[in-house]
Symmetry: C2
Subunit: 504 residues, 2 copies
Amino acid sequence: MTGRIRNRELRSRIVEAEEAAQLIRPGDNVGMSGFTGAGYPKEVPGALAKRVQKAHEAGDPIKFGLWTGASTAPELDGALAEVDGIDLRLPYQSDPVTRAKINDGSLGYTDIHLSHVAQRVWQGFFGKLDVAVVEVSGITEDGALIPSASVGNNKTWLEQADRVILEVNSWQSEQLEGLHDVYYGTALPPHRMPIPITHPADRIGSPYFHCPADKIVAVVETDSPDRNSPFTAPDETSARIAGHILDFLGTEVESGRLPRNLLPLQSGVGNIANAVLAGLDSGPFESLTAYTEVMQDGMLQLLDSGRLEFVSATAFSLSSSALDRFNRNLGDYRDRILLRPQEISNHPEVVRRLGCLAMNGVIEADIYGNVNSTHVMGSRIQNGIGGSGDFARNAYVSIFMTPSQAKNGAISTIVPMVSHVDHTEHDVDVIVTEQGLADLRGLPPRARARKIIETCAHPDFRPALRDYVERAAHASYGGHTPHLLDEALSWHQRYVREGSMRAG
Amino acid sequence: MTGRIRNRELRSRIVEAEEAAQLIRPGDNVGMSGFTGAGYPKEVPGALAKRVQKAHEAGDPIKFGLWTGASTAPELDGALAEVDGIDLRLPYQSDPVTRAKINDGSLGYTDIHLSHVAQRVWQGFFGKLDVAVVEVSGITEDGALIPSASVGNNKTWLEQADRVILEVNSWQSEQLEGLHDVYYGTALPPHRMPIPITHPADRIGSPYFHCPADKIVAVVETDSPDRNSPFTAPDETSARIAGHILDFLGTEVESGRLPRNLLPLQSGVGNIANAVLAGLDSGPFESLTAYTEVMQDGMLQLLDSGRLEFVSATAFSLSSSALDRFNRNLGDYRDRILLRPQEISNHPEVVRRLGCLAMNGVIEADIYGNVNSTHVMGSRIQNGIGGSGDFARNAYVSIFMTPSQAKNGAISTIVPMVSHVDHTEHDVDVIVTEQGLADLRGLPPRARARKIIETCAHPDFRPALRDYVERAAHASYGGHTPHLLDEALSWHQRYVREGSMRAG
């Protein structure tokens, strides 16, 4: 296994995970690698959790600040949340145990635009980063670090932390070497320069992380798979949503508002995203590119079929079977994929310049086009805003997708007023459900309401939405965005009270 | 007067405003110059309004789409709204007649991030621009157009319109020639390149607009002043807000999180903004710069005192007396001021690169740090989002400022839940009232609530806010951002019902 650690000095620092975990001091802010279950450290977090548990049993209430790229996996977030080892978590999570602790008020969580994290750590806004725990796939002879299956904020963690613990995971493909593009040109203002990317395939950095050897206090060898996000096959609802989006893109091309090969795609994960990508695989568009956060199964399929020419991302988010295929044939993909730091994959400057087509999911949207991406019933956080704001605000066209109903029809995802806002009407161009696609560009609020209700809402909920709009038009305090304040959140109130938004 | 029109061919197209207005066809989308009452056309809009009135009296319901840079003045917005001549207005307004028509539902208004407007017109998202009506301060021998007191979207209007009507206003200073920087390097993706600005003073374009002479269908000579925004002197509340901000900036410099000369300032207009700028004029900071939308009285004062080295903006927004002084001595300022198109003055790429310090006003903020900039009681639009989103999202530090109360204490500007969201908690670093400054960076929602209530809310409203938070912590559906849905908007409901948010 030590074949992955080609640097002699760092080989001498190999220890077990338990020993490495001892190097983290109570109260430390710890920056860990990991982005959507790819490239997170596999053993030190568990060892740290065990240490926390013992300390807590002994009456010592130690905790840590936990900063990552984005979501990780049960071995990291789950293990540390389970033992109440996290004081403040940022910038994104999707772990059930962590989520439960956040929502019972025992775990502090700061939800941040993913492009903002690195710069705010550099700016010193979150305090000092003490330790970095970063998975790499190898170490070169001269001590350069070969990144793993995600880049995330690792460059920043390695630079900002006083002490660095590396996990070298020999399960990751050796062919990852050379695939990454770590940009070392960022700076704090007034010293910032333009980021010289004008195409998703542009390489502007180094394939390696560079870290002074004297900061690396421990190296842990692991051989563990990334968490496998299960592939969620498109269902009928997702396929219908995808169909509406493909029709829309076709119309945009025909009208000359989009080039024939579209513009760089940004897409989340899950079955709607997979359905859209599957649709693109049988659609009329060729020579596609992606400038996005994660590469998921659907994009791998598009690379296989040759429809997709290039993917720029910050992490892989592949199912078990896709990952097998990908790792076996990584050499075939290497010229068509690169992973960047998330401050670059999500950078407003680059997203705006390239003109990404942003496709993101929602929890709910309202009749005026405001979007809630994070809070169920306005208070219970699901995951976080992630990169959706980085892309939606700066996209060429910002598309938000959702089935028109949730919880077997108990919830309408189109409501009079969203219970929490992550994306304002100013940043929402298109809302699409299986019912249809509402193109909201240029429309004033009252017209948006008509279009969203008649196009996107489930027919069961349309009469009540129309009724709200009609009464609001007459009884609202102001008439630009008519609302009845005593009813605006009543659908959510009914759901909390009765378990359904449907009138009894 | 024809001395301002040095091009012989264009001199031959001089007509009266009434004749020019006849060249606009019913239903046309008309792009007019104007940004905060500077550089708007003075006569054609009024002539158009008269024509509309006659047509309406004759039973012909003609209307026009009206697109501008931002707000204008009574002679433009007011005149056309008064006669119901506007079908759809975008992207910003602050006119009382227009506002009333928007809020009675008779005038459609699309409120847009100011940086988004030009690109969306280029993308064809708002339909065809038919006519441009643009004020210039002169025309050179070879037909280049010397911009006026604002640049706004004029470059885009001149390029996109089929027909161009120019107003040449000899009231504007002849010394404006050479002061502007009109960037001609923008493009649609996939052809966009980095915008090469790394300092507010960087010149990257032309001092002139370039427009094919054959598109210029009429030239109207005017000699009319810009609307004079009255100077609002700092009152005690504003001075206290300014004091808190200056203390905060001082602390940031001391802690090394800001350079000694700060970073480029962005500031709105009004008495809080003037108080902050007045504070800077007597504070410890030297060699300041501004990268902002408008140059107002406070910035002129800072230029006079030598504290401010350079201002980049898209428009002047000066009071009558400041404007007199400025126009008389324009030569002295010319090396320290430039006006750019608003797509550049507000460009996320540049704002983020430069690391602006964004200072914007609010209508209300909530205990979790969400900000409402546009809608009184969630439905009645005041002005619009303007450039606040362009700056807040991309700023180095995003500061929102407001007195803690409005309407003589009937309204608390800190509420349990804002009735409309323009800036989400993700984009709000600091909230400041005369009571104090809440630094929210890195804080999770519950901690934000404590800090905002105890620091920013007026003491009269603190007990009720604390009570809400305490009860929400136990009774909320989810505990990340605790809310009581049946009470969240109750303060607004009470105001609408009783004229006060204070409990009876």
